[in-house]
């Protein structure tokens, strides 16, 4: 595994009496697209604001590139491009002027603006006032602002928020391209299906606690996989499963049952055959991130 570029240890934060983060420890490997996933209000934006030094009175440690955000703020922020919630754009200015402001603040040469506009596909509309941009264009301009200084790390908070399917696809493609250029992307989202296709690593946060942190494949492999049994006697199968106390989902003759191992699949098949059920097909189903997410959240809720 690559060295972590972002690492938090026991991060805690509260707004007044409301505890938003509880001992959150995450580790983002270099060169990854890290999906930071959770419902609205889970603590994603708060974590991002701490990483960007926008919230200062937190407990625990936040290291970026092995440097403490509290003491090395300027050095760290010089290596990060960020988009937090909605992009803060000056609507009375053009796209180019918005980027020019950022280029002055970051001491970036104006020529870089053109490259960045091309990367996000806004070159044609660079002289249009931002107030006349579509929502998707504004999001892309927000990403352009984050990219302008060619940062090593991109921190993007809900970059696909409010975008139509085409816009979401464009952002996904852009992020994949950026990863291939060696950037590490920390991406928060509450719509899991939108980011599932591109993330390499994942952190799942629920009510300020990390439920899972690690590789996407490891997450999908954890816990029980669903196995689909195609049977000729679905009513009898359902009756037996209910009697045996095994949870299942069914759709006509297809019965989905969580199985933790191949031995369990073989065992169930034997049981079916012994009880006169003809099994004509068995298929392991790939779990969606959303499915795993809900499993984890449900488990957490049961424990608390």
């Amino acid at each position: 595994m690559n060295e972590p570029v972002i690492e938090t240890t026991n991060l805690s934060y509260h707004f007044g009496t409301h505890q938003v983060l509880h001992d959150l420890s995450i580790s983002v490997p270099a060169g990854s697209i890290y999906g930071f996933l959770g419902h609205n209000g889970a603590g994603k934006t708060t974590t991002i604001k701490i990483l960007l030094s926008l919230l200062q009175d937190f407990h625990g440690d936040a290291l970026i590139l092995n440097k403490d955000i509290r003491s090395r703020r300027m050095e760290i922020l010089a290596r990060i491009g960020s988009l937090v919630e909605a992009p803060g754009l000056y609507h009375h200015l053009t796209g180019w002027e918005n980027l020019r402001i950022r280029s002055l603040l970051l001491s970036v040469v104006p020529e870089k603006i053109v490259d960045t506009l091309r990367t996000v596909g806004l070159m044609e509309v660079k002289n249009r006032l931002v107030r006349h941009y579509s929502h998707g264009m504004k999001q892309r301009l927000g990403i352009a602002l984050a990219l302008l200084s060619d940062p090593q790390i991109l921190i993007l908070d809900e970059p696909t928020n409010g975008l139509d399917p085409t816009g979401i696809k464009e952002i996904r493609e852009l992020l994949t391209t950026l990863r291939s250029l060696g950037k590490t992307i920390f991406l928060s989202s509450h719509i899991l299906s939108e980011v599932e296709k591109i993330i390499t690593d994942v952190g799942i946060i629920h009510k300020g606690r990390l439920l899972y942190g690690g590789g996407v494949e490891g997450l999908k492999a954890s816990g029980a996989n669903l196995v689909e049994f195609d049977v000729l006697q679905p009513d009898l199968t359902r009756e037996l499963l209910t009697m045996w106390g095994i949870s299942f989902e069914s759709n006509h003759h297809l019965i989905n049952i969580p199985c933790k191992s191949n031995a369990r699949i073989a065992e169930l098949t034997d049981h079916f055959v012994t009880h006169g059920i003809s099994v004509i097909g068995i298929r392991k189903l790939e779990k969606s991130l959303e499915h795993v997410y809900f499993e984890l959240v449900e488990k957490e809720m049961q424990q608390t």
Partner: protein, 254 residues
């Protein structure tokens, strides 16, 4: 220094297509223009008075400017400079950049000061210009017989310095209050309270009373710049700017 210069340049760029500098031009132009017309229309009455009409000319302008427009104007420029960030929801972006928060704070402050200085400089130039033109058009008014340029200049400098305390309060308040009503409401209340308290013996401690008191000093043709009103204003401004700086360093962007 380079970072500060770039930051200040961005503040200038942000005023593009806004009315930010309009107030600095419109207010002095309207006040001196209306006053000029008043002198043209009532020139015979003014000629009969026979005194130094520079005092009357500047007095009319200063009454409107220092007692009403300047306190509201400093509130407005403080508000508009920070409102650009509130409106764009851009504070979080600014503070997430590798910039010192002090650079952002000071460059915005310089932008506010630049607008106020533009306004008072134009007021000074237009006051003198209107007197000169009236002197040329109507020699019987006697503008050419007196020279009050120093008194007018000193008074305008005093007004500027005396408004710094108010400016500091309005600037810092508008960083924290994003809406129009609160900072401008505070300016309006301050203006009324300032005028009401201007005669009080400790009024030199009330920042909003300082311009009315400088106005009184102009009427007495007082040329002392660094009197207690000006010093009080500078102290208020220094204290509030330091407090604002301290607050912005600790500001959490929620």
């Amino acid at each position: 220094m380079n970072q500060f210069y770039n930051c200040f340049r961005t503040e200038l760029l942000k005023t593009k297509r806004t009315l930010s500098f309009s107030g600095a031009i419109i207010i002095p132009t309207v006040i001196t223009g209306v006053n000029f017309l008043t002198f043209v229309v009532y020139r015979e009455d003014f000629a009969k008075a026979g005194a130094n009409l520079w005092i009357a000319l500047a007095g009319n302008i200063f009454s409107a400017f220092a007692l009403l427009f300047l306190p509201m104007y400093v509130g407005m420029v403080g508000y508009s400079t920070n409102h650009i960030e509130h409106q764009a929801d851009a504070w979080k972006n600014l503070f997430a950049l590798p910039l010192k928060r002090s650079t952002i704070y000071l460059s915005k402050l310089c932008m506010v000061l630049l607008q106020v200085i533009t306004c008072v400089t134009l007021l000074y130039a237009l006051t003198l210009l209107s007197g000169q033109i009236l002197g040329m058009l109507y020699p019987e008014l006697g503008f050419q017989n007196y020279d009050s340029t120093v008194l007018i200049l000193v008074t305008i400098v005093k007004f500027t310095l005396a408004s710094l305390g108010t400016l500091a309060i309005q600037y810092v308040v508008s960083i924290y209050w994003s809406d129009f009503i609160k900072p401008m409401g505070a300016a309006l209340i301050g203006l009324v309270v300032g005028i009401l308290l201007a005669k009080w013996k400790f009024a030199f401690l009330v920042p909003y009373s300082l311009c009315p008191r400088v106005m009184e000093q102009f009427q007495k043709e007082n040329l002392t710049i660094f009197n207690r009103e000006v010093l009080s204003s500078v102290l208020w401004a220094t204290g509030v700017f330091i407090l604002g700086y301290w607050l912005i360093l600790r500001k959490n962007v929620k």
